[in-house]
C-alpha cells in the first residue's frame, strides 16, 4: 500500500559548497530545521505512544496506523479478557516495575485494560498468565511503533 509520505522528504538542502567535496553525503540541513524536526519527531512519538497509530496517522501512513491501533487493541482486549495481570506503579519487585513499564507502553489502552478487567486478574491459572504476557506485548509493540514513527519523522527510516 503506497501510503507512506514521510514529511522529511520536503526537507530543504543547503546549496552552499561543502568543503569535503569528495564525500558522497549530502550537506546537513540547517540547525534550525534540525531542531524543528527533532521537536516534531518527539511530539509525534508522544502522540504515537498515547494513542496507538496516531503518530503514523499524522505522517499519513494510514495502513501502518490502522495496523498499530488494531493489533494493540486486540492484544489488550484478549489480555484483559483472559484476566491477565495489569501491573500498577506500586510494584514491589523489579519484575513488577518492569511489567508496569511494559503495560504503560500501550498508552491509553492501559486504562482501557483496567476498565475492561472488572473482576481483577487471575494468574492462578495458565490462562491469566498468558493474558499477562499479551498485555505486556501490546505495550512493547506500541513503544516499537512509536519509535518507528519517531525515526520516520527524523528521516532515518522509510
Amino acid at each position: 500500500m503506497p501510503d507512506e509520505v514521510p514529511i522529511a522528504q520536503t526537507e530543504t538542502t543547503n546549496a552552499a559548497p561543502v568543503p569535503q567535496a569528495a564525500s558522497p553525503d549530502p550537506a546537513p540541513p540547517p540547525s534550525s530545521d534540525r531542531h524543528r524536526r527533532d521537536a516534531l519527531a518527539l511530539t509525534i512519538a508522544a502522540a504515537a505512544w498515547f494513542v496507538p497509530g496516531l503518530g503514523h496517522a499524522f505522517l499519513k501512513m494510514w495502513g501502518r496506523a490502522l495496523v498499530c491501533f488494531s493489533t494493540v487493541a486486540l492484544l489488550v482486549i484478549l489480555g484483559a479478557g483472559m484476566r491477565g495481570n495489569i501491573f500498577s506503579r506500586n510494584g514491589e519487585d523489579s519484575f513488577a516495575k518492569l511489567g508496569y513499564v511494559a503495560d504503560l507502553g500501550a498508552g491509553i489502552f492501559y486504562f482501557v485494560a483496567q476498565a475492561l478487567e472488572t473482576n481483577g486478574p487471575d494468574v492462578s491459572h495458565a490462562n491469566g498468565d498468558y493474558g499477562t504476557r499479551l498485555l505486556a506485548t501490546a505495550g512493547v509493540l506500541n513503544m516499537l511503533a512509536a519509535l518507528h514513527a519517531y525515526e520516520v519523522t527524523r528521516a532515518r527510516k522509510a
Binding site: 495496523v67 472488572t118 493474558g131 506485548t137
Partner: protein, 64 residues
C-alpha cells in the same frame, strides 16, 4: 465497562494469536510494498510457530 466475556485459550491458541498479531505488525512496520509485507508476514508467522513448537518439544524431557 464490562468485558463481553472471558476468553479461555489453550497455550497453543494463545501462541498462534500472538504469532499472527506480531507478524502482521512487524510486516507493516518494516516493509513498504504489499508483496514484501505478505512474504514477511508469512515467513515470520511460520518461524514463530515452528520455533515455538520446537522449543516446547526440546523442553519436554525436562518436565518429566
Amino acid at each position: 465497562m464490562m468485558p463481553a466475556h472471558e476468553f479461555k485459550l489453550s497455550h497453543f491458541q494463545a501462541m498462534v494469536i500472538f504469532a499472527l498479531v506480531i507478524s502482521v505488525a512487524f510486516g507493516f512496520l518494516s516493509r513498504r510494498s504489499a508483496s514484501h509485507r505478505a512474504k514477511y508476514i508469512l515467513w515470520s508467522f511460520i518461524l514463530f510457530i515452528v520455533i515455538g513448537v520446537g522449543i516446547g518439544w526440546a523442553m519436554y524431557p525436562f518436565s518429566h
